[in-house]
């Protein structure tokens, strides 16, 4: 099992985080957040990977065949759904910002600075 998927997962996480921190555009911000989230997909799938393992669909393969871990796939799928919900909600907020205030720059949203 190579270390490469984990290194790339960390890289994607850091790149996405850098994007979130430096973003000045709401849509860009939301996409960067999706990038951060997608690092977990790679991490999970990397953990469940077995070299030369079959796909974990036990219909037409013998029961004891070496296969990749199906649990992490289920986790990844759940995470994709969660990520989609968050992205959709945040994009809806971005649409509101554009509609009501004509800007997608979070700096111009005039926050409640107390």
């Amino acid at each position: 099992m190579s270390f490469l998927p984990f290194a790339i997962a960390i890289w994607i996480f850091l790149v996405g985080l850098y994007g979130v921190v430096t973003s000045h555009h709401l849509v860009h911000l939301v996409i960067c957040l999706s990038v951060v989230q997608s690092s977990t997909y790679l991490l999970l799938l990397g953990i469940g990977y077995r070299t030369n393992g079959a796909a974990s669909i036990f219909v037409d393969i013998p029961p004891n065949t070496k296969a990749v871990d199906p649990v992490v796939k289920a986790l990844t799928l759940t995470d994709v759904v969660v990520g989609a919900a968050v992205t959709a909600l945040l994009l809806a907020l971005a649409v509101q910002a554009q509609k009501r205030f004509g800007t997608l720059d979070p700096d111009e949203l005039d926050p409640l600075r107390d």
Binding site: V20, T22, V71, V86, L89, L90, L109, P111, L112, R113
Partner: protein, 620 residues
């Protein structure tokens, strides 16, 4: 009863789904259905709690009947132990209170509001009761996403939009941390059940992967709990969320993060980390102490009433984290008592402030000067009772929790932390009392008065008028609905009553002993076996606790009166030489709360790195 247990989570979801697919018929029907559902939730979880207490052993149910075989769990378990069920009950009570309050509060809440609140309530129950690490994460996310949507409920204004954005971005990054932790644990143990992971880790030592997994999980939960420096989103979100949602956010949602840290530690990490408890305590006491003081100092400086209560929340989260961070049975009991008492009191204060907003259409303490006199007298009395309860006078409010916390701190040799939470309690209660004095009694001076004893920097921007509350309600009606007063009164009375019964302290200590016994938890979850409870000491009330209680109340009232006194006696107390640097620091701290998601994530990363390094050092 056991078979029906998942209904505590699924019930609200089903009703919420009905709301989502049905056409809005009438406002009245929506309100009645949601209040009935929420009350049924309270009754159901309450019945579960009585059942659990009578059995003296946690009730474990396996969703879909996937029981463990030979101690290997593949199914998903829900664990009803006394503490987790009590927390779920607190959540259910607050959801019910929020619906009662919202009944007369909103002008036009769409059915979506009711659906969101019900999903939120169900997710909180699931989060408390889950015995499975990944389900914990799923309910965490469900809870978070509905909370973002509730915060952005009035998304036509800039405040809620911006608050929901920072809330969502910070918490999503926190959730990614949690998932990283889960992935590492799964990689090591091949299990997702808390008890199963605990068994697998029990005989290993605290190596890099285990420490990393614990750090990731804690960071994610600390973002939700709003521990400094992960807290920035909280003040922005709670200040702008609709008040009924704030009742739940502040009353219980933040505390769930603290609960989760305790849960994952005592079910999974107690084995490998037990040898490092001494140093581990230092790390958590540092974060808890800083949070308690940071929130306390900043809440003194707020004029926006909801934002003020948001910082009160942060400060009290710090106190609860101190309790959990002592990593002892008494510490857990103290945190549980504090969470229950302070949670109910904060929720009651939010309802009281909501009633003021409902009546006057304003949320700014200075603008409300004397306007609070329009609201009925009982509401003012409830507000002051709640504020005093935060300080913990003997046998009321937060007193029991603080008493056990003092014992716990001295027990593990960290008595110094008592100073931190007494100071935090004094400052937070003083801030709330000051706001109450100005709003309800018309004490102090209007607008030009300054909560800061050393003034503003010359040429600083004038404080923005954050009066964003109008659109939420029906404007300024002539009467305050009795249901609001009753709700606030019931919540505050409940919070105060927690410390009235010394027997409750013993019960909580027993429950905490159950909570912190990893072997017994694993035995009941994986083998259905009952292990005997360890003996818990009975704590007597000592003079020290009463002294601290009186000191907190006296200090809080004193500071509040001093700030409200007409001649600015406080300002005279600060030496002239110190005013410049103090003023500079104060404004620098305040500017940190910039309202930009990017800045908050930067602080989150800094905090995560600091926490990770400290944890690694502590477990070497």
């Amino acid at each position: 009863m056991e078979k029906l247990a998942p209904l505590a989570v699924a019930g609200p979801f089903l009703i919420a789904a009905l709301f989502a697919i049905s056409m809005p018929l009438s406002r009245r029907r929506d309100d009645i259905v949601s209040i009935v559902t929420a009350s049924a939730g309270v009754v159901f979880v309450g019945a579960m709690l009585i059942d659990v207490l009578s059995r003296d052993v946690p009730v474990v149910t396996w969703v879909g009947g996937w029981q463990p075989r030979a101690g290997v769990a593949l199914g998903i378990s829900m664990a009803f132990d006394p503490l987790s069920t009590s927390l779920a009950l607190l959540a259910a009570v607050l959801v019910c209170a929020a619906f009662l309050f919202a009944w007369r509060y909103f002008e036009t809440p769409g059915p979506i509001f009711h659906a969101l609140m019900l999903v939120f309530g169900g997710a909180m129950a699931g989060f408390c009761l889950s015995g499975d690490l990944f389900n914990l994460f799923v309910f965490f996310e469900l809870m978070s996403v509905t909370a973002y949507a509730l915060t952005a409920y009035r998304s036509e204004e800039s405040g809620p939009l911006q608050g929901a954005l920072t809330f969502a971005v910070s918490n999503t990054v926190g959730a990614v941390f949690i998932l990283f932790g889960i992935a590492l644990l799964y990689a090591r143990t091949g299990a997702l059940n808390l008890a199963q992971i605990g068994v697998a880790l029990a005989h290993g030592h605290a190596d890099g992967l285990v420490v990393g997994a614990f750090a990731f999980l804690c960071i994610g939960f600390m973002v939700k709990a709003a521990v400094v420096p992960f807290h920035f989103w909280l003040a922005d979100a709670y200040a702008v969320a609709p008040t009924p949602a704030c009742v739940i956010f502040s009353g219980v949602m933040s505390d769930l993060g603290i609960y989760a840290i305790a849960r994952v530690y005592w079910t999974m990490f107690d084995g490998p980390f037990h040898a490092h408890l001494e140093t581990l305590r230092l790390v958590f006491l540092l974060f808890g102490g800083v949070t308690a003081l940071w929130g306390a100092v900043l809440c003194l400086a707020q004029h926006h009433l909801k934002r003020l209560l948001a910082f009160v929340t942060i400060s009290q989260i710090g106190m609860a984290l101190i309790g959990v961070g002592l990593f002892s049975t008494e510490g857990i009991a103290a945190a549980a008592l504090l969470i229950a008492a302070d949670g109910l009191l904060r929720a009651g204060l939010f309802v009281a402030i909501g009633a003021v907003i409902h009546r006057t259409g304003s949320v700014n303490e200075l603008r409300l000067y004397r306007l609070g006199r329009q609201v009925p007298r009982p509401l003012a009395a409830i507000f002051f009772a709640g504020a005093l309860g935060l300080a913990g006078p003997p046998f009321l409010g937060a007193f029991s929790g603080k008493r056990v916390l003092e014992h716990a701190a001295i027990d593990v040799g960290h008595g110094w932390i008592i100073v931190v939470f007494v100071v935090a309690a004094i400052l937070t209660a003083a801030a709330v009392l000051r706001a109450g004095g100005r709003v309800f009694l018309g004490w102090g001076e209007p607008a030009e008065d300054d909560p800061i004893p050393f003034g503003r920097p010359t040429g600083s921007e004038v404080e923005r008028d954050d009066d964003e509350a109008e659109a939420e309600t029906t404007g300024a009606p002539d009467t305050t609905p009795p249901v609001m007063i009753a709700t606030a009164g019931a919540l505050v009375a409940g919070g105060l009553a927690i410390s009235l019964f010394p027997a409750l302290v013993d019960k909580t200590l027993d429950a905490a002993a159950r909570f912190t016994d990893r072997a017994a938890y694993a035995a009941v979850v994986l083998h259905g076996a009952k292990l005997p409870l360890p003996d818990t000491p009975n704590l007597g009330v000592d003079a020290l606790a009463i002294l601290f209680g009186l000191l907190s109340v006296g200090g809080a009232v004193g500071i509040a009166l001093a700030v409200l006194s007409p001649r600015h006696r406080v300002r005279g107390l600060v030496p002239l030489r110190l005013r410049g640097p103090l003023r500079g620091t104060y404004w620098a701290v305040r500017r940190l709360h910039s309202g930009q998601a990017g800045d908050y994530v930067t602080w989150l990363s800094v905090g995560a790195a600091t926490f990770g390094v400290l944890l690694a050092a502590a477990t070497r």
